[in-house]
Each structure stands twice: as C-alpha cells, then as structure tokens.
Amino acid sequence: MNFKLDHQMFLVLNAVVGGLFVASLIGFILSRTVKSEGGKTTVENLNARIHAWWIMIGIFSISFLIGPAGSMLLFALVSVLALREYVSLIDTARADHRTLFWAFFVFTPLQYWFWYIGWYGVAIILIPVYAFLFVPIRLVLAHETAGFLDRAARIQWGLMVCVYCISYAPALLTLNIPGYPRQDAKLLLFLVIVVQLSDVFQYIWGKLLGKRKIAPNISPNKTWEGFLGGVASAIALGTGLWWMTPFSPLQAMGMSLAIALMGFAGGLTMSAIKRDRGIKDFGTTIEGHGGILDRMDSICFSAPLFFHLTRWIFISTHHAVYKH
C-alpha cells in the first residue's frame, strides 16, 4: 500500500474547501432573503447540511492525510456506525445476540485488516463466503428456528452493505496501479467527490426543477429532473477530474457514469428499507442528513463496482493466468 501527498491532491482538497465556502455563503444569503415558511425550512435544512459537510470533510481530510491507516480506520468506524444504525432499525431476535457480536467485533475488524495488509484474495471473499456461511451456522447453534431464514438474511445483508461494500472505498488505496505510483489515494478522493457531489447535484437539480417523481412510493423527493441533472453534472465533474486519475477522459466519463448510477441505485434501495421499516432516516448522527447510513448509501453501492472496474482495466492479472 502506497501513499504520497502530491500537489494534485492539495489542489482538489482546496477546491473542495473553496466550494464549501461558496455553499456556506449562498446558504447565508438565502437565510437572509427567503421569507416564505416552506422556503425557510428548506434553507434551514440546507444550512444544517452544509454545516455537517464541513465536519465530514474535516474528518475525512484528516484521516486521509494521515495515510492509508487513517483512511482504513475511518471507514472501519463508519462501517461499525452504519451497521449499528442498520441493526438498531431491523428486528433482531434474542437468539441473534452472539452472531451480531461476531458481525461487529470479529468480521468488521477482520475485513479492514485484510485490506490493510493487502490480502486481496481473502478480503474479497471474507464476507460473501465465510461470513455468509458462518452466520447461519452460529444461528443454528443458538437453537432458535423461528424466523430463521429472515434472521440470517438480515444479518448477512447488513454485513454485505455496511461492512463489505463500504470497505471497498479505502480498498482503493491497495490497488498499486502500474504507471500510477503511490497515487491510489487520489482514486479514493475521486470516488468520494463524484459520488457525494452526485448526491448534492441531484438534490440541487431536484429542488430547482424537480417535477416528475421517479419513484414516488419509495423516495418521494427523488425526481427525474434531479436524477438526470445530477447524473449529468456528476459525469461532467468526473470527466473534468480525469487528470488526477489513471483514466483517460473517456474512461473517467464512463467511471463517473457508473458511480453516479450505482450511487443513485444505492440511495433508492436504502430508501426502500427505510420505507419498509416506516422511518425517514437511519439515525440522527449527522445534522440535516440523518444517519451515517443515509450519507453512505450511495458509496455502499458504487465503491465495489468502481474498485473492480478499475482493477479490471489496470491490473489484468487474469491474462497471466489464462495465457497458458
């Protein structure tokens, strides 16, 4: 695992901070000018979100600048908090207790540990194979058959989404792309910027032009205008950032499209869970945004795809294997 702070990273981080300044300024002006009741609520929520962005970007930047260990630790913590929100929300049985303990305190640290030491072969199957089998086995040992399949599936799903999928974001630091020495951290930065700004763009386009609902019974605030405008903006942004990645502009465009689409799908999927459980947000940890999982839903779905697409393009080990 390699890491080097270069001037491209500084440039991008500075641009992010500059963008936040502009957002804070706009939020401040809106809070002074908007007078209608509905408008005020929106602006208050907007400013709460911007405020939370400052904190999130601050924490992310610090861990990012510490290096791979910092990013691994941060995302491991994010996984624990996300899994906690998820488990708190779903029904678990008394008999699930020890299986849940394993999920939180064994599988989650192990997942990040295997990425950290760069053991790719185990990191990609620890949860889909070993935890997948372990969970029902441990549940069987608790001698409770009521709702067995439901209970096992819920825990497996939580581990997959909150731990396995999120862990792909810092896993980008382990790629070691040929011809892109010690710069993998910029891929993480690229992913986080494109996926989070895609969410922000969708929110802004939706607020400005949103009319036609895209999935009214799943997420009433999502509109076609927000979706198309947001994805198009995210693609434009991602393509414009090609110079910090190992991608050509065309590849960067395709990657941004994949990230934005998967991010959207992630948001919608997690909304379906929230709807099913009859709640609006997964938690109250991040002011204006809801819970950690509300902010991470788009990363959950886009990070694994982005990781494997990148790996497939640049690290073609399969050639070496299949040639013979």
Partner: protein
Amino acid sequence: MSRALLASAIAACARALAGPSVRWVDSTPAPGQRVYFANHTSHLDFVVLWSVLPRKLRALTRPVAAKDYWSSGLRKAIAVNAFHAVLVERSAKSTGADPIAAARNTLEVLLAALGTENSLIVFPEGTRGNGLEVGPFKSGIYYLWLKRQDVQFVPVYLANLNRILPKGEFLPVPVISRVAFGAPLQFNAGETKESFLGKAHAAVCALREA
C-alpha cells in the same frame, strides 16, 4: 482516581456503546430530589440512565442495585465505588429472613440514601425482563412514596438496552438505545397501593412510544 472521574469515564463508555438518544417528554432535568423509576432489562440500565443525566444532577443521583449481584469484585467497584450505588436485598428468599422485616429494612436503607439532597434510580420490577413488556411493579416504591411525598417520582422508559446486553449475556452488541423521561407523577394524598402502582406502571409504559 476520584469517584466522580471514574463514574464519568464509565458513563462515557456506556454512552459510546449504547448511543442513547434522550428525550424529556413534558419534563425537564430540573434539580431537586427525585426518584427515577424505569423498566429493567439489562445490567446496563442504571449506568446508561445515570450517564444521560446532566452532569450536575449525576453527582447527587444514586442507583439502587441488587446486593446479591453487585457486591463483589469488579461489579462492586463499578456500582459502589464509582456510582455510589445503594445495595439492597432483592428479596428475603436468599436469606430465609422474615419478608416483612426485610422489606422494612430495605425501605430504611432507601430513605437513608435519599437523605435531604440525593435522588435515586430504581427499577420497581425488581428483576430484568425480556424487553417485550414491562413486568408488574413491586410495592417498595409505594412505601417509599408514603414516607417521602415531597420527592418527585419521574417515570423513565429505557428502550433497546436488552438488545445491547440481554439477560444471560456478557458480551455487548452496540445497538442504539433510547431513554425517555416523563413528567413527574401526580398523586392524591390518599392514593392506595394498587392505584399508585397502576399509575406508575402506566406512566413508564406510556413512554414506550414517545
């Protein structure tokens, strides 16, 4: 390490583990002598309840805990040394003593602990439940009220703590918990034991959906 510091450190760990969201429903964390009475599902209950009180109130708030469980080793260090817990006999069954005398003795201990400035945390079910329903209240809290009608009786509902550390488990799972405080109960001067316990029980259950 001073008692207050140790208790604060344990409380911080409990808050990190249980991530409690706190609501005061028609109620405020005001100073003054109080008896907080709550449903009981976990050994974490009193630590979490204590830890979400404002710092000023914590110093004067003492949990009431079962002597048979909390009076030795590490448990004693936590309960007695850190939280200044009041240890009481759960029932006369273990000692074989006269139940009425034992109950009277417990009441004396509680009255002494309350003193002129302290508050108490009690769990009137007397034992940990499964978290599905609140069990019937034991009458001790009624006799406490008879002697100390100047003290406010504040209902508290603790949700999800049974999922963090249920009965019979020793390893915790960090589920998010909820603590809801209700308004101090209003009683008539001649309240009977049944109506007192009924009101108290209903007040805790009402906070369930809060």
